[in-house]
């Protein structure tokens, strides 16, 4: 049995400084929906003071795992690790069929299965079926209709299929970087993967796209599965080592955050512990990498009002904030505006907006209000989930706002396309 670590739990001094930054506490105002409250509930369950109740499971799932509390915590409590191990604990204690688990373990992590589903969905979106389905849903269930409507368009072709395994820059390469194309990113935003590769090439890097790469494992890890991610991590370590790259550049905040943790999750693995540590030390977020290694400043500027939304798994999990912000400021010049509550979760949170649509919508409303107040037309953000969520928010409210990845901004500006 995987218990929740008592050492990690005891590190919490229940000072309450996590409360003002917690999105779910802001929704209910109740202590049980705060990081401090959840930690106390976990401790009580582990000590046998309360049973593993539905209410407990509900609180663990209500949490977005945005880790804003970790940034605020003076005592360095590893809350993300705690809530993830609580979900593993719940999962082990409560067997039985679970649709979420089935989808994550049997579809998302299997490239063939994921693509099959994506292709069927693409066909569904291209045909008239989507319109008919939406029409029917609209009549019978406003809730399902709203959800179905939010589905972003599936990419026309997946980047991993069209990008070469190794691409050379025009001039002598500064070095080799390897790129993860990701699951969500490639299914919905294959263009961002192509932009990532283009921008890296433009900056003089040789770019490898290892063809045998697999899902990073984060979606499973965040949803109560501790074994699948380890297997995926081992596979990715082997595949990326073979690429010979000096850096692994990740354009999806959630994937980057998790791959930086490979060293920790495989710490007890005799064969992989050292390799995993080395792997994690090479992982860089796209913006972090460009900022640290230097990048070519494009001649053109974004000529629309621009804000930067900080993806939770960048700002809180990876503590990468100043780097992307500085790039976005540089690219938008006078058009840059501060976004109020930029570090608040937009409600996307992996698959949270799918499995907990109502809660996610409340957080999205809060985010959209701040975006509208800022007057932004362009929202730059480094995570596909946030792009989809904010994009859906704009579509819902019929706003002319584009949610766009820094790689896309740079690539368009390099090609002097306007934004």
């Amino acid at each position: 049995m995987n218990a929740i670590s008592d050492d990690l739990l005891t590190q919490c001094m229940h000072c309450g400084l996590c409360l003002p930054v917690c999105p779910t506490y802001a929704l209910t105002g109740l202590e049980r929906s705060s990081p401090r409250g959840r930690i106390r509930l976990m401790k009580s369950v582990m000590e046998g003071k309360i049973p593993l109740s539905d209410a407990f499971v509900e609180e663990m799932n209500f949490c977005l795992d945005c880790q804003a509390c970790e940034t605020a915590c003076p005592a360095g409590v590893k809350y993300g690790e705690l809530v993830e191990s609580a979900r593993v604990f719940v999962d082990e204690q409560r067997k039985g069929f679970n649709l979420k688990r089935f989808v994550l373990r049997k579809i998302v992590v299997r490239k063939g299965a994921l693509r099959l589903v994506a292709r069927v969905t693409r066909f569904y979106q291209a045909s008239r079926i989507e319109k008919v389905v939406l029409g029917v849903l609209r009549l019978f269930s406003r809730r399902l209709y709203n959800r179905a409507k939010l589905l972003p368009r599936i990419s026309k072709e997946f980047a991993i299929d069209v990008l070469p395994e190794v691409a050379e820059p025009k001039e002598n390469a500064r070095g080799t970087v390897a790129v993860l194309t990701g699951c969500v990113m490639d299914v919905f935003y294959a263009g961002v993967n192509r932009d990532t590769v283009d921008v890296l090439l433009e900056n003089g890097w040789r770019v490898a796209v290892p063809q045998d790469q697999v899902c990073c494992g984060s979606l499973n890890a965040h949803n109560g599965d501790s074994e699948t991610p380890k297997a995926l991590a081992r596979k990715n370590i082997e595949v990326f080592e073979k690429s010979g790259a000096e850096y692994y550049v990740i354009n999806s905040a959630g994937c980057g955050a998790f791959m930086k943790q490979y060293g920790e999750i495989l710490a007890d693995d005799a064969e992989f512990a050292e390799r995993a540590k080395r792997f994690s030390s090479k992982v860089k977020d796209f913006s972090e990498f460009l900022y640290q290694t230097g990048y070519k400043k494009p001649e053109a500027h974004i000529c629309k009002s621009t804000v930067y939304h900080e993806a939770c798994h960048l700002v809180h999990a990876q503590r990468v904030s100043a780097e992307p912000k500085s790039i976005v400021k540089e690219l938008s010049g006078n058009e840059f505006h501060e976004l109020n509550e930029a570090t608040w979760c937009c409600g996307s949170a992996g698959i949270y907006n799918v499995v907990r649509y109502e809660d996610a919508s409340k957080l999205l409303d809060r985010k959209m209000k701040n975006i509208k107040d800022s007057g932004a037309e362009v929202v730059v953000t480094g995570n596909p989930g946030c792009m989809a969520q904010i994009g859906a928010g704009a579509k819902n409210e019929k706003l002319d706002i584009e949610a766009v990845h820094p790689a896309t901004v740079l690539n368009r500006l390099y090609k002097s396309g306007k934004i």
């Binding site: 005891t10 001094m13 309450g16 400084l17 109740s53 209410a55 609180e59």
Partner: protein, 490 residues
């Protein structure tokens, strides 16, 4: 436990949504920011009106249960930890600023407004609310008034009571009382307002608060000085005071804290530094610049081995980083962090800090001390593990010595955290008995049934409904305290 009949009545008052009693909710309100101690409430209620609060208090008197008010639960002396037979009264959703009066420089607020949010709201209007407790990001103004909270700016600007002009309060009998107003002078009757401020939830429940604001200081300057020993820093503090300079802030860190900060945030501090002093002066530009030069000179004369003066706000923020991360740096070292607030006259600062470090050695525990040098308010912070009972016992013994020494030096057992549960014993032992008796009488007079946050600050008559004493010693100690045993069990 309160019975089902009472629960039914509570639901009638607060509705199903305003009444919580699940195991999960009771656990979530069993603690506050205080280390080690906790207790389960029987239920939690969320009021929507003053009438509901008044009805709750009346019911508590009729049905003999107790009421424990709670803001954000960030207190450090156990003030909002539930008592026996208790219902937690949750005020955190009363979070509106009702009125900002720019002509009188006052604000009416609800008690659940978060202190830092209120500060930034008034600052956006060029106004200033100086009380600045370390937990400002989460603590509530109601909690601040109930604890008479202090913070970093106490020396020059004072504490919460200096900015509390009045309030509306539900008394322990259920009556609603308004006291004070927008007058800067008001001597009508006894100063009972100040009896309720800092009463730690034992004499009344604040439902609306009137606060005083001042204009925002125009300019400020920050400097950081490094010393070989705490004695040098203390000398600087005395010399600055003697030079008739009143800094907005004078904060210090001792050597164990400096080492923890450097280990955690790598600011490039010399870990052999004995003490570090952060001084901020504010006011009109010309005066501030003059003061800053004078302070720098004083630091050097009194033995600072190095002084850094911030040129702009960005650099000031960097200098303040060391002080700001003091608690975070210490808290990471061990699982349990016990933050105390023994306070001495500022002339005794060095004596007290030295005593604390000797005491830590004597009891083989780890203590880092930082705090408000300007007003002598120290934060000796013990780093321990609540699962190690022997070490917790040694820590308690060390604090026992520290509080006694503070009082011996003419100081106090608590500068800003309050007495609550954790320091009650010291209040009863170390302070004049007429003072303690006067408090007991006040509590008994205002709250005859002992329903409001009982057994905090002071203990009064145990009641039949509570837990009965189990051992002979317990009974004897109660009888000794009561003086008149015949009244103890009516």
């Amino acid at each position: 436990m309160i019975n089902d009949n009472v629960k039914k009545k509570l639901k009638e008052i607060f509705g199903d949504k305003g009444f919580l009693d699940s195991a999960e909710d009771r656990i979530s309100y069993s603690y506050d920011g205080t280390p080690v101690i906790s207790a389960l409430p029987d239920a939690i209620v969320i009021p929507a009106s003053v009438d509901q609060i008044s009805a709750l208090v009346r019911l508590a008197n009729d049905e003999k249960f107790t009421v424990v008010p709670r803001g954000s639960g960030s207190g450090l002396s156990g003030g909002s930890i539930p008592s026996e037979n208790s219902v937690v009264l949750l005020m955190n959703q009363w979070n509106k600023v009702i009125e900002l009066d720019k002509n009188n420089l006052t604000a009416w607020v609800e008690p659940g407004v978060i202190t830092a949010r209120f500060q930034s709201q008034v600052e956006s209007q060029g106004l200033f609310y100086p009380p600045d407790p370390g937990s400002a990001q989460i603590c509530t103004l109601g909690g601040n008034v109930a604890e008479n909270a202090g913070g970093l700016r106490g020396l020059k600007y004072g504490v919460t009571k200096n900015y509390t002009l009045g309030f509306e309060v539900v008394l322990p009998t259920g009556e609603v009382m308004k006291i004070g107003g927008k007058n800067m002078k008001d001597v009508a009757g006894y100063n009972l307002k100040d009896v309720l401020i800092g009463s730690e939830g034992t004499l009344g429940i604040f439902t609306r608060i009137l606060l005083k604001l001042i204009p925002m200081p125009a300019f400020s300057r920050t400097l950081l000085a490094f010393y070989d020993s705490i004695g040098g820093a203390a000398e600087t503090v005395s010399a600055i005071t003697a030079a008739r300079i009143m800094p907005a802030m004078m904060e210090f860190l001792d050597n164990p804290t400096i080492r923890a900060v450097e280990g955690f945030s790598r600011l490039g501090l010399d870990t052999n530094t004995g003490a570090l002093l952060l001084v901020e002066v504010d006011g009109p530009r010309s005066a501030v610049e003059e003061d800053a030069v004078a302070v720098e000179k004083i630091c050097r004369i009194t033995g600072a081995k190095n002084v850094r003066v911030a040129k702009d706000d960005a650099e000031a923020a960097k200098l303040k980083a060391a002080r700001k991360s003091a608690l975070a740096a210490l808290a990471r070292i061990r699982p349990t962090t016990i933050l105390e607030d023994a306070t001495v006259p500022r002339s005794e600062l060095a004596v007290m800090v030295d005593f604390i470090s000797q005491t830590a050695k004597k009891h083989s525990i780890q203590i880092g001390t930082f705090g408000h040098a300007g007003d002598g308010n120290l934060h000796p912070t013990a780093l321990t593990d609540e699962r190690d009972h022997a070490e917790i016992k040694r820590t308690e013994e060390a604090f026992d010595d520290i509080f006694r020494k503070a009082v011996e030096l003419g100081g106090t057992i608590t500068g800003e955290h309050g007495v609550g549960l954790t320091k009650k014993k010291f209040l009863e032992e170390l302070y004049d008995s007429p003072f303690v008796r006067m408090m007991e009488t006040t509590k008994q007079m205002l709250d005859p049934n002992g329903i409001l946050n009982p057994n905090k600050v002071i203990s009064v008559m145990p009641r039949c409904e509570g837990a009965l004493p189990k051992s002979r010693e317990q009974i004897e100690s109660i009888m000794k305290r009561m003086g008149n045993p015949s009244e103890a069990y009516i």
